[in-house]
């Protein structure tokens, strides 16, 4: 049915989506455009910003500290995401074999780390990993494994950040996979069982293809979140000792709010955005593949 342009029905439609549209424009599109514009400038308040073209991006290529932050972030992302996916899937498979009433209770308890804010998580783990009175060292020393400087040993600080992130987000991965597993139809599984397929064969040939979409979604979310890892890093080690555990987000933050290099930090954040985008697209095509026409 053709609706005239200025009719009340059409206007009503626009009015209903206007709040969401305004929100997207003001809080997503405008900041993206503004920071892109800022990335081509040098801005040292109170002087007005000065356009410098691609200077910030060229400077980034020779910035050792940015390279170090990228390296730390890559190691962190690969380590945490792989571990979270593996442990999350194992946990989900285990929960799927429990009785529904017990599985419900397990799901409720396992949600606790997800609902804690990153700042509280960072503070909590800072106390757990404290070199003097942290309980982690207490139990390790009871088991005869010695005491470690989790937050100040250059060899361990990145690993400490990974442990906290894995603790924080594995339940989310497990929950997502649990939902995916519960949506798999019973008939193929029962048929495979009747045909004498092993658990591994059932998992690989039946369950995994069904879980592909969930897997892609979870992988994408976790990779992007890991690249943007900031709160816990800031609370736990602040990138130290030195720059051993400094991530890209922390480096961008320092440039913006400690050193007041607003143009350079915008350029850094745009590069991080592009990297996260490329990785996301690559994951999408690898896992889902192109749509067959």
């Amino acid at each position: 049915m053709h609706i005239p342009f200025f009719s009340s029905k059409r206007l009503l439609r626009y009015a209903l989506i206007a709040p969401a549209l305004i929100w997207v424009i003001v809080f997503m599109i405008f900041p993206l455009i503004y920071s892109l514009n800022l990335s081509f400038q040098t801005w040292q308040p109170p002087e007005p910003p000065i356009y410098v073209g691609l200077k910030n991006y060229i400077e980034m290529l020779s910035d050792e500290r940015f390279g170090n932050a990228l390296q730390n972030t890559s190691i962190f992302t690969i380590g945490t995401v792989a571990t979270e996916m593996a442990i999350g899937l194992l946990v989900a498979l285990s929960i799927s074999r429990l009785k529904p009433r017990i599985a419900e209770k397990v799901n409720v308890v396992s949600v606790i780390p997800i609902v804690m804010t990153p700042v509280i998580t960072g503070i909590l783990w800072r106390m757990i990993m404290h070199g003097d009175y942290g309980i982690l060292n207490y139990y390790l020393s009871m088991l005869g494994l010695g005491r470690y400087s989790w937050l100040s040993d250059p060899k361990l600080t990145l690993f400490s950040n990974m442990i906290v992130d894995i603790w924080h987000w594995t339940p989310f991965v497990a929950l997502a996979f649990t939902a995916g597993i519960s949506a798999i139809p019973r008939e193929p599984l029962e048929a495979a069982q009747l045909d004498g397929a092993s658990y591994w064969q059932t998992f690989k040939n039946i369950m995994l293809p069904y879980l592909r979409t969930i897997l892609m979604l979870v992988l994408l979310l976790r990779v992007v979140e890991a690249i943007l890892f900031f709160d816990i890093n800031f609370i736990l080690t602040k990138g130290g000792p030195g720059v051993r555990s400094e991530m890209v987000s922390l480096y961008v933050y320092k440039n913006a709010f400690w050193f007041w290099n607003l143009g350079y930090s915008s350029a850094l954040s745009y590069i991080v955005l592009i990297i996260a985008d490329i990785i996301g697209m690559a994951l999408f095509f690898i896992v889902i593949g192109r749509k067959k026409k």
Partner: protein, 491 residues
């Protein structure tokens, strides 16, 4: 359908009658034209408008008219008795009565409690309420910058670390305060400038001979030590950094079984606190405008810090200034070089296990002299505030001798005075017998580099220091790298 046109009360209408299929008639009035106003109507409406506007103007005048002149108030005061020191603030703040100020305060070590307490007293006196938002060092300074960039005017004032004053004044994040000092309605005639500690004023409150902030807390690095243990083993506070290392070794190795205390707690966590340990070990001439890391003083300061690490608390590399102070207050360590405001917590039985067992000495001497690090916070006014005068009056009130003495003597607050009269007041010295050591440190202190690039330089120094202490870099490599980065920043 019947239709009757008529003119009724200014409306041209048509009264139509419709007949339903059942033969009933239904009237329907349709407006054919907009209402027009008659001459009488014009007169009526104009009269009503004049009355409303006159009433509004009168109301606005009475609501905003200035209060009685100071002459009238003085007459009232002299009629009742001698003028109190606080009367000035009562009078000067009268035009701003009912105002609500929003002030950011650094949090931790009960520093925000001092400003909150002053705000409560100020409100009782003047009717201007003060809402203090306690924030961490990072968050507080970010809010100031964000308020400036967004031109929000959400905050009227903030406590600013003296370390970033050069940067903040150059960047326009604060308002110069000479305009208020030059206003006789706002300047307290009894505000004694000579009484303020000179180094605090020179290094924190003023920039290029202009006032930018009122002193909030004047602080300096001092050495906290366990007097009970030192007396037990007949020891004196170390005079040099070598003696400091030996003393730390004594407690961590020789008598650890008996006393269970480590030698020291240092503030070496990556960040703003880490370089403090370097400065108070520097022990030589410190150029504020072009500091040098890789000279003999800078390198020795690196070395001394590393020398004491084996005898310090195991987690000392994770401590910032507050955590190292907490380790001392728990009774875990025998010595802790820290900021003077730790003393406020040390006397509090809810925060300290060593209430009567500690004392303070100046930091040990370096190669040539002592170089305690001057810190301190100032009260700055933000440029987009709409209540600058009221904020200035509050900050001025907070900095008076009488108020400073009140907060220092209040056991529930953590504060360090900025006035020599308060530091040497008999009541204050009776409560804080270590103040003579504190004053000596203030007078010989060195300040952070007075350059806008200070924060970035301090971050580079933290990295170099941290790399050296964790054996990632050698001494020459770390100091030379740091100096090269500093030269790039200062170029």
């Amino acid at each position: 359908m019947n239709e009757t046109k008529s003119y009724d009360r200014g409306y041209f209408t048509s009264l139509r009658r419709f007949y339903t299929p059942y033969g009933e008639s239904r009237p329907q009035v349709i407006v054919l034209s907009e209402k027009t106003v008659s001459r009488r109507g014009y007169v009526k409406y104009a009269g009503a408008g004049i009355v409303i506007v006159a009433g509004a103007a009168a109301g606005a005048y009475y609501a905003t008219r200035p209060p009685p002149t100071p002459a009238e108030t003085t007459t009232m005061a002299t009629a009742t008795g001698p003028k109190e020191w606080s009367d000035f603030y009562k009078e000067a703040a009268a035009p701003y009565k009912g105002t609500k100020l929003q002030v950011i305060s650094v949090s931790g070590q009960r520093l925000e409690d001092t400003l909150i307490s002053s705000g409560q007293e100020f409100e009782k006196l003047t009717g201007i309420s003060v809402e203090v938002t306690p924030l961490s060092w990072d968050a507080g300074h970010e809010k100031v910058v964000s308020d400036y960039v967004a031109k929000a005017g959400a905050y009227d004032g903030a406590t600013i670390d003296g370390w970033v004053m050069a940067n903040f004044t150059q960047s326009g994040y604060l308002v110069p305060q000479d305009q208020f000092w030059n206003n006789s309605a706002l300047r307290d005639p009894n505000f004694n400038f000579d009484d303020l500690v000179p180094s605090i004023v020179d290094l924190n409150c003023t920039w290029q001979n202009e006032w930018w902030g009122l002193p909030y807390i004047g602080d300096v690095s001092v050495l906290f030590y366990r007097k009970d243990l030192f007396d037990k083993y007949d020891m004196k506070p170390p005079e040099t950094w070598d003696e400091y290392t030996q003393t730390a070794k004594f407690f961590a190795k020789d008598v650890f079984e008996q006393e269970h205390v480590y030698g020291s707690a240092e503030q070496l966590k990556m960040g703003i606190d880490c370089p403090t340990s370097w400065v108070y070990r520097y022990g030589g001439p410190f150029d504020q405008y072009h500091p040098v890391v890789n000279n003999k003083y800078g390198k020795q300061a690196f070395q001394w810090t590393k020398d004491v690490l084996p005898y310090s608390a195991p987690a000392t590399l994770e401590y910032d200034s507050m955590e190292s102070g907490d380790a001392f207050l728990r009774g875990d360590v025998a010595m802790n070089p820290n900021w003077g405001f730790l003393a406020g917590k040390a006397v509090d039985p809810t925060m300290s296990k060593i209430q009567d067992k500690w004392f303070v000495a100046p930091v040990p001497k370096g190669l040539e002299k002592r170089t305690p690090f001057l810190g301190g916070w100032v009260l700055g006014i933000l440029p987009y505030s709409k209540r600058k005068e009221a904020a200035f009056l509050f900050f001025e009130y907070h900095s008076t001798q009488q108020n400073q003495k009140r907060v220092v003597l209040d056991p529930s607050l953590g504060s360090v005075p900025t006035r020599t009269s308060v530091l040497s007041d008999p009541d204050v010295v009776a409560k804080f017998p270590y103040y003579p050591a504190y004053v000596e440190s203030l007078l010989t202190s060195v300040a952070r580099p007075s350059v806008p690039e200070f924060l970035e330089m301090w971050d580079v120094l933290s990295i170099a220091f941290s790399d050296y202490l964790t054996n990632a870099k050698g001494l020459d490599e770390a100091t030379d790298w740091c100096q090269a980065k500093w030269e790039e920043l200062l170029a």
